[in-house]
């Protein structure tokens, strides 16, 4: 149980140090950075992946591309991709790091959006056309709401990925909570390593809970079966 005692000591040392709560490398600032980078990458990924997924799912063109990208994204090592982009583009701005973050978070959203639209009951789609809706109306008023749970699942999986990769990206110089872990490890400051790790884990869990809440609020009750239709 020795490790538990030193673990708690490290936590007390890290969170108890007033220096860790102020300035550009204080916890509030690092937390904000982590949120900023993750949100930026996720928003860009959503802007790319959702329209593309809707298009492919609705038209049925480019399905192979979607499947291949999903498998490739799973196989590509994030650390390798980060180092590659930084070596290629230099570390003058955050973009050499943000680009791989976006690249890795597009496929989960893309695949799930595509699967969601493709999985809509054909009878439902026909019924919508039968009621006189045009293609675009069918997409927005029927396909998107029905596919929303899967689209949000894709976003949640991407968010998990982005939070984790933003942490790893601290190795290639990005700010955020990963800094405590990477710098602490390099200087054998284990209070910082353990404190930073706990913060990142909490951050990831909060993101999860937020996504669960968003899903609750945005998915139509008819789709989520919360509303019993008789």
């Amino acid at each position: 149980m020795n490790w538990l005692i030193s673990f708690l000591d490290w936590l007390r040392e890290f969170f108890g140090d007033p220096e860790n709560w102020t300035g550009s490398d204080g916890i509030p600032m690092r937390l904000l950075e982590h949120l900023e980078f993750s949100a930026l990458a996720l928003v860009l990924a959503v802007l790319i992946a959702v329209p593309l997924g809707l298009l492919v799912g609705h038209t049925g063109r480019g399905e192979l591309l979607v499947v291949v990208s999903a498998n490739l994204a799973r196989a590509l090592p994030t650390l390798g991709l980060l180092v590659m982009f930084v070596l290629l583009l230099g570390a003058s701005s955050i973009w050499p790091v943000i680009i791989p973050l976006v690249l890795l978070s597009v496929p989960p959203i893309l695949v799930n959006t595509y699967e969601g639209v493709k999985g809509v009951d054909p009878e439902l789609r026909d019924a919508a056309y039968g009621m006189g809706l045009r293609g675009e109306q069918v997409l927005w008023r029927v396909l998107v709401p029905v596919a929303l749970p899967l689209i949000l699942l894709g976003c949640r999986l991407s968010a998990i990925q982005v939070v984790a990769t933003t942490t790893v990206a601290a190795y290639t110089g990005l700010g955020g909570l990963g800094r405590y872990v990477i710098d602490g490890f390099a200087t054998k400051d284990y209070a910082s390593v353990v404190g930073g790790s706990v913060l990142i884990v909490l951050f990831a869990l909060v993101v999860q809970v937020l996504f669960a809440l968003v899903q609750r609020v945005t998915v139509s009750p008819g789709v989520s079966r919360r509303l019993k239709v008789r």
Partner: protein, 226 residues
């Protein structure tokens, strides 16, 4: 050293087997160990746990909830937190990867067993199969495609995730990335990425092959339909 930067092939030749711990060959071996061990352990643990969740339905909700949480934990901080328990060893990478694997495989086992049609199960009972024999000879083979689909996801993501371990000095081929970053040099990065993707493709291919061999009736049925 020669004049000018060496080509990728030259670099591979020079670093393939230097006898040191960070030769490409040794990194490749480490990488295979740290990715395959979690896949196997995760399967061995997910099977009984999945079975338990099917047998006692109330277990499934808390188990899948817990596994969802586990799956959301970023790997690097988990490695870091484990260091104080298991040290800077391969175990520190293997344990979290095993849990990530279980997070995918337990639902796969449960869904797979759920896909066994009731009439098939009842036929087995009527034919006098004992519960164990029914499980091994009827239910698990029918569940195999779903479980193997989960295995493919786990194998590919484990192989690529191991490389993050390089940040605690245990990343297999990921070591090439940290080396390339500390001493800015592109060939190790390219070699690392290509080898890891190749490993993932091979593992995926082997699992597809296993699926074909284990479930010959799937293809036979498709052939009939065509």
């Amino acid at each position: 050293m020669g004049d000018g930067p060496p080509s990728i092939w030259e670099w591979i030749g020079r670093n393939w087997d230097t006898g040191r711990a960070d030769s490409i060959r040794n990194l490749l071996t480490d990488h295979l160990t740290m990715s395959l061990v979690p896949i196997v352990i995760a399967l061995l643990l997910a099977l009984p746990l999945g079975l338990a969740c099917v047998r006692w339905r109330w277990l499934y909700q808390p188990t899948s909830g817990f596994m969802n949480v586990v799956y959301a934990l970023p790997s690097l901080p988990v490695f870091m937190l484990l260091i104080s328990v298991t040290g800077l060893s391969q175990t520190t990478v293997i344990i979290p990867l095993t849990f990530y694997g279980m997070a995918v495989l337990i639902p796969a086992v449960v869904d797979g067993l759920g896909s066994v049609p009731d009439h098939v199960r009842q036929s087995a009972v009527a034919m006098g199969f004992t519960p164990l024999r029914r499980l091994l000879a009827v239910e698990l083979p029918i569940a195999a495609p779903v479980v193997l689909a989960g295995m493919r996801v786990v194998a590919v993501s484990s192989i690529s995730l191991v490389s993050v371990g390089a940040l605690i000095g245990q990343g297999g081929l990921g070591g090439l990335f940290t080396r390339a970053y500390q001493n800015p040099f592109m060939p190790p990065v390219i070699v690392g990425i290509v080898l890891i993707v190749l490993l993932a493709v091979v593992a995926d291919g082997l699992l597809v092959l296993a699926q074909r061999l284990l479930t010959p009736w799937v293809r036979a049925r498709k052939g009939q339909a065509a």
